[in-house]
């Protein structure tokens, strides 16, 4: 369905008069804690990044929170107190991520407690990356299809991080199996914008993550909001996540596989 919105905005742009930068009076609310943590099936350590949000008019950067107590526990009873590296980045000491494992995060900042719980799905194998070509407005366009066989059980979610010649594609690529449950995936990863077109001889790197449905909804909401405005997109809000206590961000447990393909 995102495709339709995309198409509409495309037709709308053909009519568009102009884009202009403007200034707006924004009421900057209280800065909030942002938690960005993940446990994967790769060897540790794993990291949790804590930062504070800032005013839209300030420079964008990570305002690290360094006075927190960060603890991750697993169902086997392992309790890991994370160590501060720098600028709000905390590192695990001993915990090990495994498929099917459940991890609980506890963050204490200024006497306030934030918690989150995440379970790592079973890994679905990334078989290969396939190159997909299609004609578009008189030229050949390229995209990459991650090839994997979705398991029989409904409810698998995936996230793909795409880099084109080391440039990160800013689209949150998330798939689920609502429509193609149990099938071999043939859906391509689309480039977010025209500035990041895939050309012959480009190296495309793809990281596939098997994620929980909660994470899926988190990233999918962010995608919906990127088209905000009349004619597409929904009223933006902070995306629903698994963090309790009023912080932004997400705590995810997922598997990781990486592959690179050269376009020819």
């Amino acid at each position: 369905m995102k495709k339709i919105i995309l198409l509409f905005s495309l037709f709308a742009t053909t009519l568009v008069g102009c884009d202009k930068e403007i200034t707006l009076e924004l009421d900057d609310s209280q800065p909030k804690l942002v938690i960005d943590g993940s446990i994967t099936d790769q060897a540790g350590p794993y990291f949790v990044q804590l930062s504070m949000s800032t005013s839209v008019n300030n420079p964008t950067r990570i305002n690290g929170v360094n006075n927190a107590r960060v603890i991750i526990t697993d169902q086997a009873g392992v309790k890991d107190s994370l160590q501060l590296v720098s600028n709000g980045l905390y590192r695990t000491q001993k915990i090990k991520g495994v498929e099917g494992g459940t991890y609980n995060l506890e963050v204490l900042v200024d006497q306030k407690k934030y918690t989150a719980s995440a379970s790592m799905p079973q890994k679905v194998n990334l078989d290969s990356l396939r190159i997909n070509t299609f004609p578009f407005n008189g030229e050949i366009r390229y995209s990459v299809i991650p090839v994997y066989s979705d398991p029989i059980m409904l409810g698998n979610s995936y996230r793909f991080i795409q880099k084109i010649n080391d440039t990160l594609d800013l689209t949150f690529h998330v798939f689920n199996d609502n429509l193609n449950n149990g099938k071999v995936n043939q859906r391509p990863l689309r480039g977010g914008d025209d500035n990041l077109k895939i050309k012959p001889r480009d190296n495309v790197f793809v990281e596939m993550q098997c994620i929980s449905n909660t994470s899926y909804t988190y990233y999918y909401s962010l995608n919906l909001q990127s088209g905000a405005g009349p004619g597409g997109g929904t009223a933006p809000s902070n995306p629903p996540s698994n963090i309790e206590g009023g912080a932004l961000g997400i705590f995810s447990a997922h598997t990781v596989q990486r592959k690179t393909v050269t376009i020819r």
Binding site: V16, C18, E21, I22, T60, L179, G231, L248
Partner: protein, 770 residues
């Protein structure tokens, strides 16, 4: 049980009115009112008796009227705006049939919009009602030079546009799906073409349209906010004529003529846009498709003096394609067969059989794989509507309406997915209604009635029941079996008190119930929006509206001032959870949220109806809010279309016989939107933090349009006119979208980008008629 009491008490009231009049010896004069040149029936023509100021009636949708009078000699006065008033002397000593044919006024200084005509208050108490005559709006400037019904009604107070150049509209704080749009009685589910820039109504095939803002009489029902009742032309039953228009992006032609002179006629009208021709000319977009076409057809046949049949149909389709990769097409089909029967000179019956269909198809092709999405809503509708002209002071209208809805939500198919064939859901919507127009005194008129609407879930699909968002149980209804039935009484009353010939005050209350709901994942309407009926979770939407009004005329009725205030309370409103995938989720009901809404406002309208300068100034101050369980921490928030101030000015000035100029100015408070209240970095990306929903405002919207019309000498046969218009004269860059993104030159800085759609849009249209 409660509805039984309602019905009973209304019947009781009716009885009370009948008794005192029964003693008099009355005769009935009845017949039809028509246009002399074309034979088109005239709707809402006023038929009154000079000698009896208290007696009068307005012709119904088919031009029929009936009056009960005591024996005597009378002068019958028949009037209709744009027509010469006709006075005919009659000697009434028996009941008789008299048909009137009115002559169009020589110099057409027509009134563009008219809510009340001279002596109008005599016979009706309606509130919040405006009628638009299509031939009269031809000089109002519009975008792309395509005169458009839906864009003209947006210039009325209380009616708001869904966005720049958009045909979608909101009435008194309601949603776009809360307007009942009828084309010859058939509901039109998506009234827009080409992403909303055009309406489905080809102005050449339309006679007139009436919008009723929530206080509709009880023969209408099914939507909360408004009724837009669009009537197609019947066709000239005197002579053949061809009408057409050639514009920059569309052309149209219509042909009409008699099937049997004086008795039967037909009209055929077609329209096609060719915006894609321009795309084809460019190298970059040459593989793209973007067009729509539509076809209107109507015929009527008079069987005898008492029976007449009308057949009308509409077919429209949009095609949109992006190379071979992507295509979407959608469209409406409607068909109506109507049978007018004059049972007696006091009883008029219309029976309608109506079909309506809306569907869309999306085709995605990706190399060797393909993927389709289809959705469809289909209605078969039977209606009987009786008008009983009981006596000089009571006119009753009653009848029933039975609709079988078949709703097939988005179904996906293709080579790479599991083709899920979702079962279509059926619903049976029934209504019975009774309404009485009672003229208590010459000053006081009361319209009151009740509509009893019922919606029954029907078999063929599984209905899940959710409690607090968690699946509780499922009900599988077998085909042809009935599930839950919702029964809602909808009482409605409007009163009109005439203080003197110039001034009257009005008050009304109405309840409207809606059994079909639109699930939309965008703010403006999109062809892929889905309709869904009531279920075990989705309850009928209910709106209660109270309103008061004041109408006064000045300078020999040349100026009319109307003020109306309303308060509306909405129940069972629907929204969906954040991040919900409403199209692919296996049961869309699992992601829905429910709540309430409220809207209130004051609408002022000053019209100048006659003279070289005609037009109006409208102003609305209003508030529209929603409170949905699970959104905005369960607090009230502004609906997107909450625009505090809304001004529109429309002026048409006839310079001389050949040239006329017109202008439109609109101003409104920007939409309620949500701007970020902060930002943060997550995994290398800038994300924004939000607080309360729709707490911020888009920049105010304003625009001036101008147009000039040149009419060539009106020779006997051929008649042509040129229209030149300029949309957005002073080139204001109205914000269509405000977006936030990283500055490409300095990624740590956030840019706020305003996107404007149109700066200037000039257009030229040539209209011809022979």
């Amino acid at each position: 049980m409660r509805y039984k009491i309602y019905v009973f008490s209304f019947l009781l009231c009716l009885g009370v009115h009948f008794t005192p009049v029964a003693a008099q010896q009355n005769y009935v004069v009845s017949g039809s009112v028509r246009d002399k040149q074309t034979g088109e029936s005239l709707i809402k023509a006023v038929v009154r008796i000079q000698e009896l100021p208290n007696a009068g009636i307005i012709s119904n949708e088919y031009g029929f009227y009936s009056l009960s009078l005591p024996k005597g000699n009378y002068s019958v006065v028949v009037s209709q705006v744009g027509y010469e008033t006709l006075v005919q002397k009659i000697k009434l000593d028996s009941s008789q049939t008299i048909n009137f044919s009115l002559q169009t006024k020589n110099v057409l200084k027509e009134v563009v919009v008219e809510s009340s005509r001279k002596n109008d208050n005599l016979t009706k108490a309606q509130m919040g009602t405006e009628t638009i005559n299509m031939s009269a709006i031809s000089k109002v400037p519009v975008i792309f030079g395509e005169k458009d019904l839906l864009k003209t009604i947006q210039l009325l107070p209380g009616v708001k546009s869904a966005g720049e150049g958009n045909s979608g509209f909101f009435v008194r704080g309601g949603g776009a799906d809360q307007n009942l749009i009828l084309l010859d009685e058939a509901p039109v589910y998506n009234a827009t073409h080409l992403l909303g820039f055009f309406s489905t109504f080809n102005s050449d095939a339309i006679k007139d349209a009436t919008i009723i803002k929530g206080n509709s009489a009880s023969q209408y029902g099914g939507r909360l906010s408004s009724v837009l009742d669009v009537k197609m032309k019947e066709g000239n039953n005197q002579d053949y004529t061809v009408n057409g228009g050639i514009g920059l992006i569309s052309s149209k032609v219509s042909i009409e003529g008699p099937l049997q002179k004086n008795k039967s006629s037909f009209i055929l009208s077609g329209r096609r846009t060719y915006a894609d021709m321009f795309l084809k000319a460019t190298e970059k977009f040459k593989d793209n498709i973007l067009y729509f076409y539509d076809l209107n057809a109507k015929a009527n046949y008079q069987i005898n003096a008492k029976n007449k049949i009308y057949v009308s149909g509409y077919f429209g389709r949009d095609e949109l394609g992006l190379g071979q990769e992507f295509g979407i097409d959608w469209g409406n089909k409607t068909g109506t067969i109507r049978w007018n029967k004059i049972i007696s000179n006091k009883l008029f019956l219309n029976t309608s059989l109506i079909y309506s269909d809306y569907n869309y198809n999306v085709k995605l092709k990706n190399g060797e794989t393909n993927f389709n999405i289809n959705s469809n809503i289909k209605d078969v509708n039977l209606k009987q509507d009786y008008t009983f002209y009981a006596n000089g002071t009571n006119t009753l209208r009653f009848g029933f309406n039975s609709i079988l809805h078949t709703i097939t939500p988005s179904t996906f198919s293709g080579t790479v997915i599991n083709s899920v064939s979702k079962e279509g859901r059926n619903g049976l919507e029934n209504a019975v209604y009774l309404t009485n127009n009672y003229r208590v005194t010459n000053q006081l008129t009361i319209d009151y009635g009740v509509r009893l609407s019922m919606y029954s879930l029907m078999g063929g699909d599984v209905y899940n029941i959710y409690e607090n968002g968690v699946l509780n149980s499922s009900i599988k209804l077998n085909k042809s079996s009935f599930g839950k039935t919702y029964i809602n009484p909808e009482p409605r009353i409007t009163t009109n008190y005439r203080i003197n010939d110039e001034t009257s005050i009005k008050a009304g209350y109405a309840r409207n119930v809606q059994h079909l709901h639109l699930l939309s994942n965008s703010v403006a309407s999109s062809p892929s929006d889905q309709w869904i009926g009531n279920s075990y979770n989705i309850k009928p939407e209910i709106a209660d509206q109270i309103s008061v009004g004041y109408v006064t005329k000045a300078f020999k009725s040349n100026f009319e001032f109307t003020a109306e205030a309303y308060y509306k309370y909405l129940q069972n409103q629907i929204d969906y959870k954040d991040g919900a995938e409403i199209n692919t989720v296996s049961d869309v009901e699992s992601v829905l949220l429910y709540g309430i809404g409220r809207a209130y406002g004051l609408e002022l309208l000053l019209k100048k109806k006659e003279g070289r300068l005609t037009g109006w100034v409208g102003y609305t101050i209003s508030k529209t809010e929603r409170k949905i369980e699970g959104i905005n921490e369960n607090n009230w928030y502004n609906a997107r279309q909450d625009r505090t101030h809304d001004i529109s000015v429309v002026g048409i000035y006839d310079l001389n016989d050949r040239w006329s100029i017109s202008g439109v100015f609109v101003y409104n408070t920007g939409d309620a939107v949500t701007y970020p209240t902060g930002k943060y970095t997550l995994q290398g990306q800038t994300l924004y933090q939000y607080a309360a929903r729709n707490e911020n405002r888009m920049p105010a919207y304003h625009r001036l349009d101008f147009s000039a019309t040149y009419e060539k000498n009106k020779t006997k046969r051929m008649h042509g006119s040129w229209n030149f218009s300029l949309y957005n004269v002073y080139g204001r860059e109205n914000a269509y979208r405000i977006s936030f993104k990283d500055d490409p030159n300095d990624p740590t800085r956030t840019q706020i980008i305003r996107t404007a759609l149109f700066k200037w849009v000039p257009s030229v249209t040539y209209q011809f008629k022979f």
